[in-house]
Symmetry: C2
Subunit: 420 residues, 2 copies
């Protein structure tokens, strides 16, 4: 029954016949190897073997993408690429994310039969929805806490990333919130270092935010980076929650899924998921894992916001990959438990990408995080914030940026400075 | 002061001038980008900037190893490869493994200036030794508990990996321990699935081991795979410890360093570290991380045994990489806190690799784990175990395998069956 099986889709490259290669993957990650061992009965195979559900041939290339695959003598004409769908019985590992990963992202990457192997998609049985909490706040909860409806939450990052004292950070926060930002986050390099201890930074930043909230009735959301060992993460969560803070941030890859799930079950705040280190898992086109598969782990574990990079970013990632990532986060995992994580669009963002971002992603349920694109606006930070808001007004109204800029000075000035 | 800095060595490939590229990495991962932002004072840079300590030019290649690096127009003649050493002030993140990883394995993999980037080594300040526990049992503790001195601990893995019931597993364990194995482990695919619940498997396997121990006075070590969410891991640890078990196993990459460190502080048993998924992080020659860097994280977090693959293994990894990994685990991290993790040599191992393994790694402080190389011995499992012991006797005595086999029948028969 499909509902009790995990479906994992891979891109592969191999010098072997494709069907054989697919069976090697299935065997390695379930009950067998190619040598039958005692105890591997027909009944056991029937119940527990992974099945090759589909093999779709793609192109053939002359040279292996990864070295040290089976020696060329063995190959029957080039290195064949294909998409392969495997299914695993849920009974093999149960609804456990770490053990799911041992199955779908485990030793199969080591198989010498492959000169390329990438997990590109996952479809999980409902048991995972029952076992894992998913996001606690998601889009609606985050919007409510940030006080922003009908448009993206506009944010920025504290820079310089490291080196500011708690007091200097709080001074900067004052400037940023006075300028009208909805959301501010610590850099992923800034958690609890000796030069800016978490508690001191939280206290100083909170004072700045609370002063502003008392005066204006608006309380911007600040994502405090609590990435650390487990006890420290829980303690810092408690500090933020009891001190009236609104959001915690975690570097997902460096704490792992069990720590995030544990934090989620304890947490009373939205979890802002930072994906630094992600390039290591995906940047090679023929090794690792694609975002739409990998992000499911964190969404189930309970991340509310998920970094997805941005259009025309400063990094290596092409726009189509960014768009696919954001759309994946906005696509329900299960009908009755969608586990939507709010995509965080960041990296070299400014007013200029708003229209394209909305057109490509098809949603304004985003966090739109700009650095220089706001703070380096020629008329100051407040004008920078306005320029981004205006750009999103244009996007949501279906108006061209240039046309909207004709009657919106801050946007016009941004286009002049940052435009092509 | 060097003692307060983290030294990270990278292999890079870039179309940019090497010094420039190295400065981009250093800037991205510390206090700056190439655009100075307000607040990035000279004093802040002095205290917090990462430093480029060394750039060693290697070869130049025509084509980029990773796609989507800076467009060819920007490059000044080929894609240059180099080894780059950066140093980061400990003050930037403090002695926190997850935050160390955000620094040395973070967004720098995303930088478009690079068509290849791999972390190849790390040297950490003593503060990490003070903060983290390191292995609790290590080589001496493991040897004491397994009752094996002066030679590798000889082990095997339960196969088929998945599908056996607890009772079937215990039956197989009886055969394996009667045959004289020192060590048995669950497969990494077998933790707590519905068809072999952890508690039932532990109870059945323990009975088999305890019966044997009562009769013989020898108690083989069994590594129970407790990989799971955090509470389950702790509960299963407690079950193993209070039930007289000797070892727990964890799939490191899928639980993360904070979960391992948390488990270590709670644990009263050696932690057997399985590295499945590791291929994803290292198999691309020009992306990811090398074992000697990555393994330091787990050694500090407290892993006692570390999987290193084996010579002439069934996977992609060349022997020199396996040897370097095992040597790395046996090389002290700090003079007064060596954090030695016992290398686990596994994958297609049999008597045939013992002499080469000892010569190349230079130590018998190993776990030597064989599957078919023991259970498929033509004269049965006990003969298989003897053949491997004999091979290690030869290795330790400096005798050629073939010579030793002349007077040791089990070894002779193994060479006949598995030899070239």
């Amino acid at each position: 029954m499909a509902g009790d099986r995990i479906i994992a889709t891979y891109w592969i490259e191999t010098s072997h016949p494709l069907e054989f290669a697919a069976e090697v993957m299935a065997g390695e990650q379930s009950c067998g190897t190619f040598v039958r061992v005692p105890g591997e009965t027909a009944e056991l195979r029937e119940r527990h073997a992974a099945r090759v559900e589909r093999v779709t041939e793609l192109e053939i290339v002359d040279a292996p993408s990864l070295p040290h695959s089976t020696s060329p003598e063995n190959h029957d004409g080039g290195f064949k690429r294909a998409e392969v769908e495997l299914s695993f019985p849920l009974a093999n590992m149960g609804a456990s994310l770490p053990n799911l990963l041992s199955t779908v992202c485990g030793n199969l990457y080591e198989l010498r039969e492959f000169s390329g192997l990438k997990l590109i998609d996952l479809k999980l049985p409902r048991a995972f929805a029952e076992k894992y909490p998913g996001p606690q706040f998601g889009v609606a909860g985050t919007r409510r806490m940030a006080g922003v409806e009908g448009r993206p939450i506009i944010g920025t990052i504290i820079k310089p990333s490291v080196g500011l004292s708690p007091e200097q950070t709080a001074e900067l926060v004052k400037t940023l919130i006075e300028a009208g930002l909805d959301f501010i986050k610590d850099d992923e390099l800034m958690a609890n270092p000796p030069h800016s201890p978490f508690s001191a930074r939280f206290a100083a930043v909170s004072r700045a935010i609370n002063d502003y909230a008392e005066r204006t009735g608006k309380k911007p959301m600040y994502a405090f980076n609590i990435t650390d060992e487990l006890d420290e993460m829980l303690r810092h969560h408690d500090e933020v929650f009891s001190g009236g803070g609104a959001c915690i941030m975690v570097s997902l890859n460096h704490v792992g899924a069990p720590a995030v799930a544990h934090l989620r079950r304890h947490s009373q705040l939205p979890i802002h998921g930072h994906r630094n280190g992600w390039g290591m898992l995906t940047r090679a086109p023929y090794l690792g894992v694609e975002f739409r598969a990998w992000s499911q782990v964190w969404r189930l574990a309970g991340v509310d916001h998920m970094h997805c990079n941005g259009l025309r970013n400063k990094f290596w990632e092409p726009d189509e990959s960014v768009v696919a990532s954001a759309r994946a986060c906005l696509t329900p995992l299960f009908e009755d438990k969608p586990c939507i994580a709010m995509p965080v669009i960041a990296s070299a963002q400014w007013a200029g990408q708003a229209v394209d971002t909305y057109r490509e992603i098809g949603s304004a349920d985003l966090m739109y995080v700009c650095g220089g694109g706001i703070v380096a606006h020629p008329d100051g930070v407040a004008a920078g914030v306005l320029s981004v808001r205006q750009a999103w007004e244009a996007a949501l109204a279906g108006v061209m940026l240039e046309d909207y800029a004709a009657t919106h000075r801050e946007l016009q000035r941004a286009l002049e400075k940052f435009g092509p």
